[in-house]
């Protein structure tokens, strides 16, 4: 120790510490004050009563108690799905079992998704041993029949379409500890892209953001089932079992289920029997099964036909050969959804995909990045050259983005698709839109895309475990681009390379179908969309007779392309009429959106749907049991079946949380005092030594 030898002076030490504490306090107050002054202008004063969009969450308390209806008392639903796949067509039977575990009579209401291209053409209600066939009625009429059965105590089922990919099954008068089964069937053309077929079965409707404004979404309560808080599900996982009986028609080379573990049996080279390895899975993410035909066995064209009521219905698929071409300079606008529903796994997938896309740009390209949640903002005021510095800046900017808040998608689309004349350059203008599509105002957005697209092309990238496939596919169709789904971080690379191939290769344009002379044909879609690399032409047609050859012609990179397919020796395909009607209805509704009025097509759609027994936005299935079951003295309770939160979503970020009710002042004080005490002890020891 040094030479100072005077005895320790308590007063000195105390004075020193008091001074330090005093200085600390003063510093704290000054710094706090400065922070307060500086931070204040950063928040704009929130205007009282601004109309903000919401998630329209039907919040329910999930712990059972005396007060209030509990979601836990609603009937339990389990689902068993069997697919029969033959070539590019799948027929699915979806069996929903409603079980009422309680002592009250219940009406079970289950909101769930189906593939956006599903043509639902059958419903049966099973009560005990009895099977009651459902009837197609106009939506309001079906509801009336159902309501009457409901109030008179008879068992009934109603099946409505809320969106092309959201449906509601309502089952009335489920008795105490009783089980009622509803069976649906649908038909679907499978997606074929890049030499792979894919069968997708969504299982949960992710919570949808509903923007404010009375006229924008008028059925918000129909598309937002109650959502269970993670950790409170218990047995309520809405389990789904899946079985796929696959007959690919050609030898299967690769078969993959990226999101679920499966058991596969192979009874023959072109046949597979697939089932979930774990028996049943919680309904919290999309199921996907993909397969590719063995090389060299890929058919270049296929024609399936069926005769029904004297008319021939057919499905034509033609795969144009691959072609390379010079890469044209592009202007790419990347749009990233950073809303609360993207929090967690989704935003990681999206950021990684975006980074890959940025790395793919060359300095001749131009680009910009837009992010949106409750507001939309662009990185640069205008698209700029993709210089290495600009790309680095964008990468840093994206890296720092956080997912939270609303999903005001219209604002982002308006930024990405500026209205008015743009300078027409030799550049191809492409908008890449990365989102989970968790919104309820799809129609408004579709109209916006239709009105503002101009010469831009829109490419949707569906992110996460349960993307809104209807939004992804329809937005891409109206935006004359393509769609891609990314469900896991480890498939970002492969999925994005496929997309880059489409973005960079020349497009097959001006596609036309020429039916043989003398054959009366009505085929849909009326205007065939441009094709990107790896995509087939798919046409549904109704013909008065089958003879001659159909020609499909188009033009790519200045060269003509033509295919001829004989109509006479087509494969027999069941349910082609259903697919044709489904395709025609979709085209009619597109026309209605374009014209801004549904009145003209409504009657046409209802007629078609009735003739082909199809569920549409205007027509529903209803099935009623004859004998009354519920005694009139018993009350009927409404049980909205709660759904799971999609896998990887962050509940707090989606729905918000209760306000935080504590500061760190106590911790700061206690820890501060401890430090001061420790310092004092050390100081005293030095003096003593």
């Amino acid at each position: 120790m040094h030479a100072r030898s005077h005895s320790s002076n308590w007063y000195d030490v105390f004075a020193f510490i008091s001074l330090a504490a005093g200085i600390g306090l003063a510093c704290g107050i000054v710094l706090g004050g400065i922070a307060l002054l500086l931070s204040a202008p950063a928040y704009g004063a929130p205007l009282p009563d601004t109309g903000e969009g919401t998630l329209m969450l039907r919040v329910q308390r999930q712990a059972e108690d005396a007060g209030g209806a509990s979601a836990l008392q609603a009937p339990l639903v389990s689902t068993d799905v069997v697919f029969r796949v033959s070539g590019p067509i799948a027929r699915a039977r979806v069996v929903q079992t409603f079980h009422n575990p309680g002592d009250d009579w219940y009406e079970g209401v289950y909101v769930f998704p189906l593939p956006e291209s599903a043509a639902v053409d059958r419903l049966r209600l099973q009560v005990g041993e009895r099977l009651i066939e459902g009837e197609i009625r106009e939506r309001a009429a079906a509801k009336q029949v159902y309501d009457q059965a409901k109030t008179t105590g008879r068992r009934a089922a109603l099946f409505d379409q809320e969106r092309p990919n959201i449906f509601t099954t309502s089952v009335a008068n489920i008795g105490p500890r009783e089980t009622i089964v509803v069976e649906l069937e649908y038909q679907q053309v499978l997606r074929y892209d890049g030499n792979r077929f894919s069968l997708r079965f969504p299982m949960v409707v992710g919570p949808r953001y509903v923007p404010a404004g009375p006229l924008r979404v008028n059925d918000a309560d129909r598309i937002t089932p109650p959502v269970m808080r993670p950790g409170t599900e218990g047995a309520r996982t809405n389990p789904v079992s899946i079985r796929v009986e696959l007959d690919a028609g050609v030898a299967v080379a690769e078969l993959d289920s990226p999101y679920h573990r499966i058991d596969v049996r192979a009874p023959g080279p072109s046949r597979r029997i697939v089932a979930l390895a774990d028996g049943a899975t919680p309904a919290n993410r999309d199921f996907e099964l993909t397969w590719s035909p063995r090389a060299g066995e890929v058919p270049q064209a296929a024609w399936f036909a069926e005769e029904k009521n004297g008319r021939h219905y057919g499905l034509l698929m033609v795969l144009p050969p691959a072609a390379g071409g010079a890469r044209l300079p592009r202007e790419v606008i990347f749009v990233l959804d950073t809303s609360g529903s993207m929090a967690g796994a989704s935003i990681r997938q999206a950021k990684q995909a975006l980074e890959l896309a940025l790395a793919r740009l060359v300095p001749e390209d131009r680009f910009n990045v837009i992010e949106f949640n409750s507001n939309a903002q662009a990185l640069f005021a205008d698209a700029r050259d993709a210089s290495p510095e600009a790309v680095r800046k964008a990468t840093r900017w994206i890296g720092a983005l956080e997912a939270r808040g609303g999903t005001e998608m219209a604002a982002a689309l308006e930024l990405a698709l500026p209205s008015g004349e743009r300078e027409t350059t030799h550049r191809v203008r492409q908008v890449m839109f990365l989102t989970d599509g968790a919104v309820g105002n799809e129609e408004e957005l579709f109209r916006l895309i239709q009105a503002r697209l101009g010469s831009s092309r829109l490419f949707t990238v569906g992110i996460g475990s349960a993307p809104n496939s209807h939004f992804m596919t329809k937005a891409a169709q109206l935006g004359r681009g393509t769609f891609t789904f990314i469900g896991r971080v480890d498939e970002v690379g492969a999925k994005m390379s496929e997309l880059f191939a489409k973005l960079e290769a020349p497009v097959l344009k001006g596609l036309e179908v020429r039916w043989p002379a003398g054959v009366q044909a009505e085929s849909w879609p009326a205007r065939i969309p441009d094709l990107y690399a790896g995509e087939p032409v798919v046409i549904a047609a109704a013909l008065d007779r089958l003879e001659g050859e159909v020609h499909v012609v188009g033009e790519r990179d200045g060269r003509n392309w033509e295919a001829r397919i004989p109509l006479t020796n087509g494969a027999l395909g069941a349910g082609m009429g259903t697919l044709w009607a489904r395709e025609k209805i979709a085209s009619l509704l597109d026309t209605a959106r374009e014209r801004g009025s549904e009145d003209e097509v409504r009657a046409q759609v209802v007629d078609l749907a009735t003739a082909h027994r199809l569920v549409t936005k205007y027509t529903s299935f209803v099935a009623v049991d004859r004998t009354p079951a519920r005694p009139s003295a018993e009350q009927l309770k409404l049980g909205a079946v709660p759904t799971l939160l999609p896998d990887g979503w962050d509940y707090g970020k989606v729905f918000g949380e209760l306000p935080q009710g504590a500061t760190d002042s106590r911790f700061a004080l206690v820890s501060g005092m401890l430090f001061l005490l420790l310092a004092t002890v050390l100081l005293l020891r030095r003096r003593v030594a």
Binding site: A21, L36, S665, A668
Partner: protein
């Protein structure tokens, strides 16, 4: 102390602590200095949070007086991004608090905050008020069922609620903020009351119903 003798005498006298201590000694001093600085900073911060919470209520009180006189959205200080929307009175405990607009961190530092999107305090529906358990809503642990909670509205009308029950909820149990059900006041703070740190998962939710 040979080194000392090398120094000129005058210097040693003028500088009675020669800086000749060992490295360990200097490190010791530095550690003490750092401990003192950090301790002072932390203690100051803690005191500042409390001082701010107390001081702000005085300023907000003045803004409330002007609000009662007919002004709307009176900011208690020029750069504030919140304003008083009600006064909460607990007669049995002699408590008075000015409730601010918004239940986010920036408002809760200065007073209990009314959660946006829920019924305005004193109006029909569920009025949700959040606040810190270690400042403005520390009194909640003293509140008992049957106690009167009075809300003074900007139009000077006083609405009396009776405390019904309290619940401990997860912070994600946002049904507590839903509007359906009887008209009520929902006071939310962090739980447990004695926790040292902020950011816990649990919330203490007190429900008071219109009497």
């Amino acid at each position: 102390m040979k080194a000392d003798s090398d120094l000129p005498m005058g210097v040693e006298c003028a500088w009675p602590i020669p800086p000749k201590s060992s490295v360990a000694d200097r490190v010791g001093l530095a550690v003490i200095a750092i401990l003192l600085a950090v301790g002072a900073w932390q203690a100051g911060r803690g005191l500042w949070i409390q001082a701010k919470a107390g001081l702000a209520q005085v300023l907000i009180g003045r803004a409330w007086t002007r609000t009662l006189a007919g002004e709307t959205a009176v900011k208690p200080w020029p750069w504030a991004d919140t304003w008083p929307v009600a006064k909460l009175i607990v007669p049995r405990l002699g408590i008075e608090r000015y409730v601010l607009a918004g239940a986010d961190g920036s408002a809760l530092a200065f007073g209990p905050g009314h959660a946006e999107g829920t019924a305005r305090p004193g109006q029909d529906g569920n009025s949700v008020i959040g606040g810190h358990r270690d400042t403005h809503l520390a009194f909640l642990r003293e509140v008992r069922p049957g106690d009167a909670l009075i809300i003074e509205r900007p139009d000077k009308v006083r609405v009396t609620y009776r405390v019904g029950r309290a619940e401990i909820l997860d912070r994600r149990d946002i049904w507590a903020m839903q509007q359906a059900g009887p008209t009520r006041l929902t006071l939310i703070t962090c739980y447990p009351f004695d926790a040292l740190r902020a950011g816990g998962r649990q919330r203490y939710v007190l429900l008071a119903f219109l009497s």
